[in-house]
Amino acid sequence: MTPALLYGLTAVALCAIGLHGAMAQAHLLRRILALNILGAGVFLLSVALARRAPHLAPDPVPQALVLTGIVVAVCVSALALALLRHLQADIGRSALPEDGAATGTEAAGPARDA
């Protein structure tokens, strides 16, 4: 069990958790969190694949691409959060209409009576 294989399998688990969350969660902020986790899983997989030859230096190309990816991921998060604020200001809740209103301790808008 090399570090590359261990972190590669961890990355697969993170991708699965993130993907499931992105689809199953109703609250859009949680979807953004899930997409961040999915991105982290993909990056971890790339860098683990860069470490497949333990006796050599790591492969610098995937590392450079993941560095780019981290910066792009934070841009995506920022834009997604701005869209979420805009959506909540419009319809008063933090979930898409087809997903129902998020309730409980969520920071969603108040439910409306038809």
Binding site: V12, A13, F43, A48, L65, V66, R85
Partner: protein, 323 residues
């Protein structure tokens, strides 16, 4: 691999998975955001264990730092607008059907199906990863062969700013697009930070000069050791956001000076690309005699632009000056 190293890696991997799961399963949104920040910090350790110190620096500054502040600011703004929601619905509410359902909004069938599909995906990807983890040089020999001509001594910097400089140029464009999108969508100017405590103000006053120095050092260091424009820019953005949180907005109003500074990174990069094209015939092919100097010039302007863009993404622009 020694037993202690294996145990540490195993524990770190387990921590990452548990943190990710708890982030999405926790009922409280504030807790979820804090868990994601903790996840980012643990991920930095994973990067170090995978011999990727450049990524560890960037992840700690951007993934844990900037994203954390971004999410907490968004959480505060979502809570604010929920409390002060207008009594007359906004334009989109009229067509929103009433859905009086609890958090468990799907039936059991679709949820089980989704879980099964996710497990199948994980099994397929896990098998593929298992089979592909054979010892492989990758592109390392190709990069090492071209290192003398790259102008820098650190392979990751050479790849980022010479061999794959086109990707970095487009990434800078993506940063600017994200900023334009966020500014176009802003209705409220700044997130409502709480009143800073005297401890925070004193700490910020002491830390800011040091952090700026660290950022400059990281920028210079990138040519021969882990570091470079992205890490330096992210650390500098952290300093500027800290200044904001401590009650002293460090950036001027969003006028011509700030806009020029934000655009400087991309402008210099494109300028160097065009000059290189006129001299050598191919886009971004630096003349090898001055490659090192060109890379430093590009990195310096990128650092400034990245720091400003990341800060503005978090703090927004001064109220009333978006246009």
């Amino acid at each position: 691999m020694t037993m202690i190293a294996l145990a540490f890696d195993g524990l770190l991997a387990l921590t990452l998975i548990v943190l990710a799961w708890r982030t999405l399963a926790s009922p409280d949104l504030h807790q979820a955001v804090v868990l994601l920040v903790a996840f980012g910090l643990q991920l930095s350790l994973a990067w170090v264990r995978l011999d990727a110190p450049d990524i560890a620096l960037a992840e700690a500054a951007i993934g844990a730092g900037i994203t954390g502040v971004l999410l907490m600011g968004a959480l505060g703004q979502l809570a604010d607008s929920a409390d002060s929601a207008p009594s007359t619905p906004g334009p989109g509410a009229a067509i929103v059907p009433l859905q009086d359902e609890s958090q468990r909004q799907h039936g059991t069938g679709p949820r089980v199906l989704l879980l099964l599909l996710t497990l199948m995906f994980a099994a397929a990807l896990g098998t593929a990863v298992w089979q592909v983890m054979v010892s492989s040089d990758g592109l390392l020999p190709a990069v090492q062969a071209q290192m003398p001509a790259s102008g820098v001594a650190h392979p990751v910097t050479a790849v980022l700013l010479n061999f794959r400089a086109y990707d970095t140029l487009l990434e800078m464009a993506v940063l600017m697009l994200a900023l334009l999108g966020v500014l176009a969508l802003s209705r409220t100017a700044n997130p409502s930070w709480p009143e800073p405590s005297p401890v925070l103000t004193a700490l910020a006053r002491g830390l800011l000069p040091l952090v700026t120095l660290v950022a400059a050092y990281l920028l210079w260091r990138g040519s021969h050791a882990p570091g470079g424009a992205f890490q330096a820019g992210a650390v500098l953005a952290g300093a500027l956001v800290l200044a904001n949180l401590a009650g002293a907005p460090a950036l001027p109003a969003y006028g011509a000076l700030l806009r020029s500074a934000v655009a400087l990174g991309l402008a210099v990069f494109v300028g160097v690309a065009l000059v290189a094209m006129s001299l050598e015939g191919a886009l971004l092919e630096y003349p090898s005699a001055i490659a090192g100097g060109l890379i430093l010039l590009i990195e310096a302007s990128l650092t400034l632009s990245i720091a400003l863009v990341l800060t503005l993404l978090v703090t927004g622009v001064r109220a009333g000056e978006t246009s």
